[in-house]
């Protein structure tokens, strides 16, 4: 019975689709993306995006945009971030500073293991 179902499924997978709209093929897994904060400086609004990618072994990334990004069904943005970096696996993020002059982020860490990540923890700050 199980073999029969696998065979039927294979025929389904390999047969033609009745979808008429061609869509970009995404990878086997797609990133989860969310805009977690924004800040306006000198009439430019900067957007902080938190991205988690990977399958069994995840990578957390912070991206900075100088206009609100729109993400497609594969989690690709309609424009390139002006800055991006993957986060440390072994340290908890303490501050995310926006460096508007350099158009980058300065990410400061605490000397503790990261715990359950809550996206709302990431806030754009300005260094005093």
């Amino acid at each position: 019975m199980k073999i029969l179902l696998v065979l039927i499924s294979m025929v389904g997978l390999l047969s033609c689709s009745n979808e008429s709209v061609e869509r970009e093929q995404c990878p086997i897994t797609i990133d989860s993306v969310s805009i977690v904060d924004s800040m306006e400086i000198k009439s430019i609004t900067y957007y902080l995006v938190y991205r988690i990618s990977g399958w069994s072994d995840k990578t957390e990334i912070l991206e900075l945009y100088d206009a609100e990004p729109i993400f497609d069904h594969c989690a690709n943005s309609n424009k390139d971030p002006i800055f991006g970096d993957s986060l440390s696996l072994s340290h908890q993020v303490k501050h995310v500073y926006l460096n508007a002059k350099e158009r980058t982020l300065d990410i400061e860490y605490m000397d503790v293991q990261p715990s359950n990540s809550i996206t709302s923890n990431f806030k754009l700050e300005l260094k005093k």
Partner: protein, 270 residues
């Protein structure tokens, strides 16, 4: 005592949301992927959400529920192979069909996925310099891993930390190598890994180095990270909690395991 009460409440709330369990997730996934049958996607997602709820409440799973989760991972093997991610597909399938290989007996995977990546190529170049330098200075060079403190302090190792994380991959501060985001084949196989060089001198002043990556295939538990894996299907996506993927090792459906990629080369001192 309070936590037992909490678990009881969670269990009752899950049972209230009881969902039917699909008999053949591969069939439902094929229907969604090729014909965009959204009812099949809903059917699968409801079952996954229900089982995630049960896992969070640390409840027992029925034989049908266990079979569904095993077949779900087997379906990832089909999907992975179909999309050209053969190593990631092999690992997903081994998770539910392997015997939990320990570090001394790892599952072997094709090394191609590592040795063609930019960060691995750059790290190999830097490690060759380090090995050669140590040999010249009569220092230990036989087994060196990329997170070796002395290696990371060398000027030629510093650029590894400044490589483009999106297109090339990079070395993190701890010395672990991170796969490039755009190298999907490697990134879905192994996001972070250590490259080890095991070297000997062969006649003619050649070095013979076995390059090795040993990694553990597992998922983060609910308590550690609230991660989800998004699997695109048709015009929608299936959302699978990593906590559920980890929980199935506790109910006998899957086993975390070690895997290894290895390749050998002979080279002369640069």
């Amino acid at each position: 005592m309070a936590s037992i009460e909490n678990l009881k409440k969670k269990a009752q709330s899950c049972l209230a949301k009881k969902s039917d369990i699909p008999m053949s997730p591969l069939y439902n996934m094929a229907n969604v992927a090729k014909r965009n049958v959204t009812s099949d996607l809903r059917f699968l997602q409801d079952a996954i959400d229900y089982l995630t709820c049960k896992a969070k409440a640390k409840m027992d799973f029925s034989a049908d529920e266990k079979e569904f989760l095993k077949e779900l991972y087997e379906a990832f093997w089909w999907g992975g192979m179909y999309k050209g991610y053969k190593e990631a597909a092999q690992l997903a399938n081994h998770y539910v069909n392997g015997d939990g290989n320990d570090k001394s007996n790892p599952l072997r995977i094709d090394a191609e996925v590592y040795k063609t990546s930019k960060i691995v190529i750059a790290t190999m170049t830097a490690l060759r310099k380090f090995i050669s330098e140590n040999h010249k200075n009569k220092k230990y060079f036989y087994e060196i891993r990329c997170d070796n403190v002395n290696f990371r302090s060398k000027t030629y190792a510093k650029p590894l930390m400044k490589m483009n994380f999106r297109t090339e991959g990079k070395m993190k501060l701890s010395g672990v190598l991170e796969a490039a985001q755009e190298n999907h084949r490697l990134h879905k196989t192994d996001g972070h890994f250590y490259l080890q060089a095991i070297s000997v001198i062969v006649p003619g002043k050649w070095f013979k180095t076995t390059w090795r990556v040993d990694s553990l295939y597992d998922f983060e538990p609910f308590e550690k990270h609230d991660y989800y894996t998004h699997i695109p299907l048709g015009t929608g996506m299936l959302v699978l909690s990593d906590g559920l993927s980890e929980y199935i090792t506790k109910i006998g459906v899957a086993k975390a395991f070690w895997y290894r990629a290895e390749w050998t080369e002979q080279w002369v001192s640069p």
